[in-house]
Every structure is written in C-alpha cells, then in structure tokens.
C-alpha cells in the first residue's frame, strides 16, 4: 500500500518523534513537502511535558526505520517541478539525496518513479512530460549511486492528480515525481 503524503499527518508524526528522546536518530527535519506552503513550525512549539509520571512505553514511536512509512515520513517520497519543466529544482535535491542515502541503507528496496503533471497541459503532451520528470528523478538517484536495476519509471501525465483542486496551489502539488516503494521495505 502506498501511504499518501499528507503534510499535517507528517508534521504530527515528526513532533511525536522528537518528543520521544530515544528516536534521536531521526535528527533531520523533513523539508516542507510543498514549496508553496510555509515552513513547518519548530518542534519546540510543543509545550514540554510537566510533572510527567513514570512514563509507560510510548504509544507511538514514529515510523520503524526501513519501513515504507519511514521513507515517506522521514525522507519524503515526492519532489516538485516548475510548470512545463523537468529539471530537478534546488529544493528537491536534498530530498532526493536523502532518498538515495535511504536506498543505500536498505539495499533490498526497489522503487517505481512516477512522473505527474498539472492539468494546465494537454493529456498526451503531459504523458511525455511526466516521463521526462520520472526519468530526471531516476537519473539523480542513479548518479548518487543507486543501481538502475532497482528503479522503474512510469508517467501518469495528468491522469493521477494528488490534489483534486484547480488553481496555482493544486497545480504545484500535482507537478511532482513520486518515489513509490514496490518491494523490499520492512513491514511494520
């Protein structure tokens, strides 16, 4: 199953993760997934617990490392593109770099890169444009040491928008490359 990236959910999970001290390994903050939104509030806006009784085992420990959820929440499974462009933007490079690092750590994982487009283009052109976006993500990962045999690509053009709205914000959400884990991740 593909966990769809939801910014609010992701933020909540990260906040829980930082509150649980034992998960210090997840040190880096995920990039805000949508460049059009403001940056996530710092983790210390969460008031520290006061007079906490002997803690029971935490209810949620955040994603288990090596799982699909770990990849989606702590690495980021989607990068975004400019209108009618397929070059990897500056804000996408750290996310793809982290994807490459994660894929190196979990060598058994295979991924499918899905290229997506906004509705401000015609269908068949967008299918070809989405293929270029998927390929751009693939080439980035390969150039960062990932075996091409672990990566397949497909373009959905504008046929699978993640945002059903119309307008600049929805269009930005829908112009993306999605790295979907197809096999090899640890199960929860």
């Amino acid at each position: 199953m593909v966990i769809r990236f939801n910014r609010k959910t992701a933020l909540r999970l990260v906040l829980m993760g930082t509150a649980a001290v034992s998960l210090a390994a997840c040190a880096h903050h995920p990039k805000p997934s949508y460049p059009t939104t403001t940056t996530a509030p710092p983790a210390n806006t969460e008031p520290p617990p006061i007079n906490r009784p002997t803690p029971p085992a935490p209810v949620s420990q955040g994603p288990i490392p090596g799982t699909e959820q770990d990849f989606v929440v702590n690495v980021g499974d989607r990068v975004y593109f400019d209108f009618d462009h397929f070059d990897i933007r500056a804000d996408a490079q750290p996310i793809l770099g982290a994807q490459a690092d994660w894929l190196k750590r979990y060598q058994g994982v295979a991924v499918r890169i899905e290229g997506n487009c906004d509705e401000r283009g015609t269908r068949e052109y967008n299918l070809a444009l989405g293929a270029r976006r998927a390929n751009a993500v693939r080439e980035f990962l390969v150039s960062h040491g990932i075996d091409p045999a672990r990566i397949t690509t497909i373009s959905y053009g504008k046929e699978k928008p993640i945002d059903a709205g119309s307008g600049d914000e929805a269009d930005q959400h829908n112009r993306n490359g999605h790295t979907a884990i197809v096999s090899g991740a640890q199960s929860r």
Binding site: L127, A128, Y156, A164
Partner: protein, 432 residues
C-alpha cells in the same frame, strides 16, 4: 455489447419515392461556410405512427438544431395536423408560420420491421425536395432518425451529414486520486452510452479505424502501459505487443493497415509506426525532444505531430516515412493535439496562451490559423466525418470534464447531451 450486436443484425433499405428520380435542389439553401448564417426555420411535426413517430421527429429536430444551421419551429404553432406522406401539405399553413422547409413522415410496422417514410418539402416553392423510405428493426428507430437527419442535411447544405455516427471517449468519474476512467462509446447525440472497460486501468487516447468497427486505445497501469486494438463486433481485444518503454497516443492510418504511436524511453518520446499485417515497426522520429500525438493526413502520405524540439510544444508535419519534418505553428503559445481533418483541408489543435486554452484550426502549411473556442481548459479536438464540426472536452476550474461541439466557423458552440464526466472524444466515420 448490446449496442454492437443490434447494429450487426440491422439491415437498412432506403428507397426514393415520389416524383423526382434525383433529389430536387431547392431555392432554399443553407450555406455552411458563412459564419453569420441565419439558421433555416424548419417544421418537423411528429411522424404518424404513435410514440415512435413522435420520437423519430424529436431526434431529427434535436440533430438539426444542434448543427446550428437549422431552427426547428415550435410545434405548438403548427395549424395543419393531418399530414401524411400520401398527399401534399397545405403549403399556406406552413408559409404562415414562416417555415422554409417541412419534414413529415409515416411510421408503420410490417412483418415486425419498422417502415419509415418521409418527405422533405420546400415550403415557399411548394415542391418536394426528397422522399425516402427506410426499413429497420424496431429497436433501431434512432438510427433511422439519424439517417433521415443526414439525408435532410445533405439535401439542404450540399454537404454530407454526420448524424449516423458514434463517438468513442473516456468516461470519467470522481476527482483527484479517486478519479476512474472507462473506455466508452455512444451515439453522436449522447444516446446509447455503453462502457467497454471496467475502470481498473487508466484508459487514454481512443481512436476509431476507418471502418468504425475497430478502435485503438492505450491502457495504463502502475506496472505497464499497453496499446490495444478492440474489435467492436467480436469484442476481441489484442495488444499491439511489448515495447521497451512506455507506449502512448495510438492512431490508425486511414486505410487501417498501420498504427502510429509514440514510445517514451528514458525521458525521450519518439513516434513509431507499426504495420498490423506483420507487426513490424519503424521509428519515425529521433529528436531528443518530445515527439508525440501523430495524426495521418487523409491520403496517408503525411503525419502531423506534436514536438517541443523548438523549446515549447509546437505542431509539425512530416512525410509518413518520417522524412522532411517541418514546423507549421508559429503563433504565441503552446500547440498540441494536431488532428488532420477528414477532408484534408485543416489541422485542428489545442492551443494554450496565458491562462487559457483554445480549440483552433489551421491549414496543413500553417496558414490561416483560426481560434474557435476559449475557456479555462479546452482540449483534444476530433472531427465529424464531414469536416464541419469538432468535438472536444471542456473543463471549468475545479469542475468535471464535459464534451462539447463547435463548428469550423467557431459560431456554433454546443454541449454534447451526455451528462457525465467525459474526455478524449474520437468521432467515427459515417456508419454503413
């Protein structure tokens, strides 16, 4: 599949009757070329023969009305109510309500077969223009109405009609990630819709063969893409085969012997053509840019296509063997979806300028560009077989995609009476 089997079992016999051996040409003429033409007032009373007679007249009236070239007169104003095809109408009664043409008809059932006779009259000249009789099985009454519409349209405009046709399209339900698509087919007036796939795969780019009995389309699943040929008579589906890369945008050659399509390999989309007789394929473009959306000229000698080799999406034409590619669109904006008209006169396209989309036409050499529509999102034109009308999809911001038609002058813009979400229409040739 019900629709398909009905059409298979149907046999039409059209007989001319009345005085004229050849259809008379009237003083009344509808000029399809003038953009400012006044629609011709025409009276179409219910045919005799009960409900089916009334239904046939209503379908003819709706067809002619949607063409924009005719204005059916409100039946409430009719004063002669005992018309039959056996006697002449009382012309003054029709002249009085300013009817210029009149269609009347009789429907009878003989040996289980529907017999539909009709006459077309020039009201001012007080003479018959056309008299014909059709025989069909009763469930095919709509096709009889479409054939009568075509006969009337041809007589009064001098151009072939386009009403006895079907449209294959993509039926859409839901929005965003919940969107589901099914391959669908219906009559050109939105009647008799039926669905050819179950929605489990994304379907795109359906096209008719020149025989109307076979369609090609692409199917997209997370693991694979495929181009299929679907025979509407046998419901047999055949894959074009396996290709390295993602296949897209299939179209038949005019003689049905080949399918042109595009394939993406590592971010480079190029156009190929496959000979269906031996399944050999040839690559027609090699540019590292996007090359897609091929469309054969009606003589099969050339292919229009879409490429962004200049930096943005533009229209190009090349010989059918891939030689001599040259750009034909030079206006402001992005051009996609080239579709050669059945007459060869025009190439229709989608154009994107600023925040708007347009359907337009230009000559195959790129001259005489004409913009026909403007909206938030118009795309994917297809030609009626007479080259006079285009169907396309229109989507308002945040709304579903719907089918519309526009005539080649851009004056007559109409929604297609299919109420559900729909896109990517492809018009059949006239049915046999």
């Amino acid at each position: 599949m019900r629709l398909m089997s009905l059409i298979l079992t149907m046999a039409f016999a059209a007989l001319s009757f009345g005085l004229a051996a050849a259809p008379a040409r009237a003083d009344i003429q509808v000029n399809v070329n003038r953009g400012d033409v006044q629609p011709l007032p025409i009276a179409i009373p219910a045919f005799n023969g009960g409900q089916v007679g009334a239904d046939i007249a209503a379908v003819i009236s709706a067809n002619l009305n949607r063409s924009g070239l005719f204005r059916p007169i409100d039946p409430a104003s009719f004063t002669e109510h005992d018309l039959t095809t056996a006697v002449q109408p009382r012309f003054p009664a029709w002249q009085q309500i300013n009817a210029q043409a009149l269609i009347n008809g009789d429907v009878t059932v003989v040996n289980g077969q529907l017999k539909v006779a009709f006459r077309l009259w020039d009201v001012a000249a007080e003479k018959q223009l056309l008299g014909q009789e059709f025989t069909a099985s009763p469930e095919n009454w709509r096709r009889v109405a479409h054939k009568i519409s075509d006969a009337v349209y041809e007589n009064l405009t001098g151009e072939k009609g386009y009403f006895d046709t079907r449209v294959v399209f993509v039926a859409e339900a839901g929005r965003g990630s919940a969107r589901a698509t099914r391959l669908a087919i219906m009559d050109q007036d939105g009647a008799n819709p039926s669905y050819l796939t179950d929605g489990s795969a994304i379907v795109m780019s359906p096209r008719f063969s020149s025989t109307s009995q076979e369609i090609t389309y692409m199917s997209l699943r997370p693991e694979s893409s495929a181009i299929y040929l679907l025979n509407l008579d046998t419901v047999r589906r055949e894959s074009l085969g396996q290709f390295p890369g993602q296949v897209m945008a299939p179209r038949f050659s005019p003689d049905g012997s080949k399918v042109a399509f595009s394939v993406d390999r590592s971010g480079n989309t190029d156009i190929f053509v496959m000979d269906l007789r031996n399944h050999s394929s040839a690559r027609l473009t090699t540019d590292p840019a996007i090359d897609t959306s091929p469309s054969f000229s009606p003589d099969g000698g050339r292919i229009a296509f879409n490429s962004d080799r200049s930096g943005t999406a533009q229209l190009y034409v090349m010989a059918a063997d891939g030689s001599n590619p040259h750009r034909i669109s030079f206006g402001q904006g992005r051009y996609t979806d080239p579709v050669w008209s059945p007459t060869g006169e025009f190439i229709a396209f989608t154009k994107q300028t600023g925040g708007e989309f347009h359907i337009g036409v230009m000559k195959p050499d790129g001259s005489d560009e004409r913009i026909l529509t403007t909206s938030y999102l118009d795309e994917g034109p297809t030609w009626a077989p007479n080259g006079r009308v285009l169907m396309f999809s229109r989507q308002a911001a945040g709304g579903p995609s719907k089918l519309w038609t526009v005539d080649v002058t851009g004056r007559i813009l109409q929604p297609v009476p299919y109420p559900q979400g729909a896109s990517q229409p492809a018009w059949s040739p006239l049915l046999q």
